[in-house]
């Protein structure tokens, strides 16, 4: 008897949006927008066809990368990029730590919190290339503008994630450290730092390889590094040299990725 009653009951998972009209309306609206948006992108198949030719030229270049004829420029560009990356990452980390501490709700008083969050937001709103253009306009062409750009971008990235990690720390150990009569700096050193250090190291290494990749991009707008060499190679239709530069960048990024993976595993 109870078995029959139980079989008659039905259950379906509750939908995300309860109102069926709203739910279907939203889905329909999204589909219509997508169709219209695709329509506005007038794809010119003739240009696609011509582009394939140039693509083939890239591929041929990649099959035979030319490291030799522009080796001096390539190695100088790569070295400059590496120097920019390391310096900018170091400066960025040093600046991110105080900003990150200030941007953590559980540590900083309200005005400091707002100031630091504002700084982080400003850094995250502006894309690296735009920042690089600004710094190039201010300080002229060269690696100084690049270093400033990458440092500024590192603050936005690292300070935000550090602040969030600090906000996620277990409050109990910090409370215990406070109860011993520790000062604020000692609280940071004993209560907070051990909890966030592995993640801070991991993020810093990750930022190091982001900065290396970015250093190649911002070179195109004149902020120093291998980007300028790459841009010149494309301008001169030296695809084989461009391929050599890209392969070097890929190799360095992969090596950095592998090394940071090793280090991260050790600090966990």
């Amino acid at each position: 008897m109870t078995g029959v009653a139980a079989a008659a009951r039905r259950w379906t998972a509750p939908p995300l949006i309860a109102d069926p009209w709203l739910r279907r309306g939203l889905a329909l609206g999204a589909a219509v927008y997508l169709a219209l948006a695709l329509g506005t992108l007038s794809v010119s198949w003739r240009r696609v066809w011509e582009g394939l030719d140039r693509g083939a030229a890239f591929l041929v270049g990649f099959a035979r990368p030319d490291f030799v004829s522009r080796w001096v420029e390539i190695s100088e560009g790569i070295l400059e990029s590496l120097v920019m990356t390391v310096v900018a990452t170091a400066i960025g980390i040093l600046l991110s730590i105080p900003v990150g501490l200030g941007a953590a709700r559980n540590l900083a008083p309200r005005p400091v919190y707002l100031l630091c969050r504002g700084l982080v937001a400003a850094s995250r709103t502006l894309q690296e290339v735009i920042v690089a253009i600004l710094f190039v306009a201010m300080f002229g062409f060269g690696p100084l503008a690049g270093v400033l750009t990458l440092s500024f971008a590192t603050i936005g990235f690292l300070a935000k994630l550090l602040a969030e990690d600090i906000e996620d720390t277990d409050p109990a150990p910090a409370e215990a450290i406070r109860a011993t009569g520790a000062s604020w700096l000692q609280l940071l050193n004993y209560g907070i730092q051990p909890q966030v250090m592995p993640r801070l190291i991991g993020l810093s290494l990750y930022r190091l390889d982001i900065n290396f990749r970015e250093s190649a991009v911002i070179g195109i707008v004149g902020a120093g590094g291998v980007g300028a060499t790459l841009n010149t190679a494309f301008d001169r239709y030296e695809y084989a040299t461009a391929a050599a530069i890209l392969m070097t960048i890929i190799a360095i990024v992969m090596a950095a990725e592998y090394a940071s993976g090793l280090i991260r595993r050790r600090v966990q």
């Binding site: 150990p173 009569g181 000062s183 909890q195 592995p198």
Partner: protein, 272 residues
């Protein structure tokens, strides 16, 4: 030694945790605070060392009004109040020794503590305490490698390294099994006797409190409703503290007879 006067705590959310609590703890007395969850036990002991700022009232420790102190003086006052926590509150990625030595943070300067260069006398005392709680061989292990009972012993050593006059203990056994709970309570009480420390211990385990302390204070909705010896905890008193419940009830044996009286104590030990 510790004197709490008309202590009131109202949280910003509007909850009133303490409604005019007055309590005097003489030197060397071990006192258990019991009461239902939300009665204000944790708030009370945190108001004593001002991890939680009291809204009104005074806390006087050895003649010094703790509630009136500025930040630096408060840190000095906190050195005299060792605290032990429910979930141990160790810094898990630090070693056992670093956790114990963090009890000296109120005494040493920032750079000394940063480089972990504590005065030799502090290190010696830390080793003595680790000997006492039988964890010397673990001193370089990370705190998260220890078992619950071992972690709480580290927490106890950290609190004692402060060289406190009073221990504030917040649910020391709530995360431990019954046997370890008894061992930890015994250790805390022994150490208090050896060093003539007063202790304010929050407990929800009435049976355990009865077993180890000389004075019990019952808290209900932020007000003290019982203050006396463990023997005075009659079913009527427990009802005042915790609310209506058949405190005298015993498990029926197979023949319908009541079981031995000590079963009652066991049941109370499981009371939450």
């Amino acid at each position: 030694m510790l004197c709490v006067e008309r202590l009131v705590k109202q949280y910003p959310t509007g909850d009133t945790a303490l409604r005019g609590v007055a309590l005097e703890v003489p030197a060397g007395q071990v006192l258990a605070l019991i009461g239902p969850s939300g009665a204000g036990k944790s708030t009370l002991i945190r108001c004593v060392n001002r991890l939680v700022e009291p809204t009104a009232g005074r806390v006087v420790l050895e003649g010094e009004d703790v509630t009136a102190l500025g930040p630096a003086a408060l840190r000095r006052a906190r050195r005299r109040m060792g605290m032990i926590f429910q979930e141990f509150a160790l810094v898990e990625r630090l070693s056992v020794m670093e956790n114990v030595l963090s009890g000296r943070l109120g005494y040493v300067g920032f750079w000394r503590s940063w480089f972990r260069r504590f005065p030799p006398a502090d290190v010696e005392e830390a080793f003595r305490l680790l000997d006492r709680v039988e964890l010397t061989e673990c001193c370089d292990k990370r705190a998260d490698a220890l078992s619950g009972g071992q972690r709480q012993r580290v927490g106890i050593a950290r609190a004692l390294l402060q060289n406190p006059r009073i221990l504030l203990v917040d649910e020391p056994t709530a995360s431990l099994d019954p046997k370890t709970s008894r061992q930890i309570m015994r250790l805390i009480c022994e150490l208090c006797r050896e060093r003539k420390l007063a202790a304010l211990i929050n407990m929800h385990d009435v049976g355990l409190a009865r077993l180890f302390v000389e004075r019990i204070v019952g808290l209900r909705q932020g007000t003290i409703v019982y203050d006396g010896s463990p023997d005075g905890l009659t079913p009527e008193v427990l009802t005042t503290i915790y609310g209506e419940e058949d405190w005298a009830e015993r498990r029926r044996g197979p023949g319908g007879e009541e079981e031995e009286p000590e079963v009652d104590e066991q049941r109370l030990a499981g009371l939450t």
